[in-house]
Symmetry: C2
Subunit: 217 residues, 2 copies
DNA sequence: TTCGTTGGACAGTGCCACTATCCAAGCATC
DNA sequence: GATGCTTGGATAGTGGCACTGTCCAACGAA
């Protein structure tokens, strides 16, 4: 198909597709001649993936490029590609290691991983961006004076582990070997907004149950 | 304290504090004279809250203003203020109701709410932004060809309901009546990044357990 | 041949979260 | 009381990002 059809079927404006091509998020179409390029179903799928990452997952364009680079890198074994792709994802500001709240958060997080027996996470603790995000969020809450019980954190972590198990079961049963990396990355990027939405809906529901009718007029 | 001290203690640059004042995220200090203003602990706390919402929660400045406006609105009862504040939060692009995937997602989401017995959510379905986010995320996944079992969604929803119960228990036991709205809003804004981080860590851990050592070198 | 269409290059736009500069009033010291 | 640093407020500017608009030469259908 031509650019125009690709645009039509994906709902993405032509100018934007050109931009993604320029940024290297899409591979160029097969050149038919100097003034015509042909795109196929793979391009369409990739374009939809890119759009979903950017619009639903709010991933910056540069990060999408990096993530896709890892997904496509056939020179690496699957687990490594997946890890590298997830690695590229989150962009929380670096925690200030001097800050007392950050240090406190490190301690609590380390204890948490130990309680959970997440030995892999423990080994990667110093470098995993997810771990860093966790510390930043915890430090922010602490700085605001919320001093929660480590048990609470443990309970949250168990819930999210439950979600991770669901994610990976899904990947195993529903994706072909070739698609597993892409599916897993999507799991990290697109399932999260879904979980967030469910979380907020659940808060609204539970709040209405406890304190009365749902308000919001 | 003066602006300079407020800046020092919060770690936020003076110019940025001035910007927040301009944008109405902070109430002006008590004017001592034409050229001096005095700030107190409440300002510091509010500033930290604003920073956490913007940097950890990635909430846009305009949205922070709106959310805080609801939090501070003493003319409304608590549940309504909370609802209104949460209402202002998410900024997913409007789903295109013409799109077949969006319509399909609506159906699945409605069934989900019914299965869960979330009657409050059902009543608000047409307008809740969280519901909209859910539909958008589901439609994006479907468009990419992931056709999951409604049971899976149900399992995710139960997990997130578990998280919501934890949130609200925390609010009940740890916040004074006056602080409940603020605490609950924080629950929505700051706990989410924490959950997300835990989710990704759990994915890394579970993935390492299933497929071998943690890779990423 | 004509004329609308196509893909690529490149410059421009709009938004957003800051950030830098000015300025006059305060205050501290001499 | 003069000098000079600091302060708060107003205003303009910056840099990043995700597009978007314009131009142009080459196609290609009529």
């Amino acid at each position: 198909m031509r650019l125009a059809e690709l645009s039509e079927r994906s709902g993405v404006p032509i100018a934007t597709i050109k931009y993604y091509l320029r940024e290297g998020l899409l591979t160029p179409g097969r050149q038919i001649n100097a003034r015509t390029a042909e795109y196929d179903e793979d391009h369409l799928r990739r374009l939809r993936l890119v759009r979903a990452m950017i619009q639903v997952g709010r991933v910056p364009v540069a990060t999408v490029r990096e993530v896709l680079g890892h997904v496509d890198d056939d020179s690496l074994p699957r687990t490594i590609r997946l890890g590298a792709a997830l690695w590229a994802l989150p962009q929380v500001p670096e925690p200030d290691e001097e800050d007392e709240y950050v240090r406190g958060a490190h301690e609590v997080a380390d204890q948490l991983l130990e309680s959970l027996g997440w030995s892999n996470a423990q080994a990667l603790v110093t470098i995993s961006p997810s771990y860093r995000s966790l510390v930043v969020a915890m430090a922010a809450l602490r700085r605001l004076g919320y001093d929660w019980d480590p048990q609470l954190l443990l309970a949250y972590a168990r819930l999210m582990h439950g979600a991770a198990v669901l994610d990976l079961d899904f990947v195993e049963t529903h994706a072909s070997e070739a698609e597993k990396v892409e599916t897993a990355v999507l799991g990290a990027i697109l399932v999260e907004p879904m979980l967030q939405a469910l979380h907020r809906l659940a808060q609204e529901e539970e709040s209405a149950r406890r304190y009365g009718f749902g308000d919001q007029e």
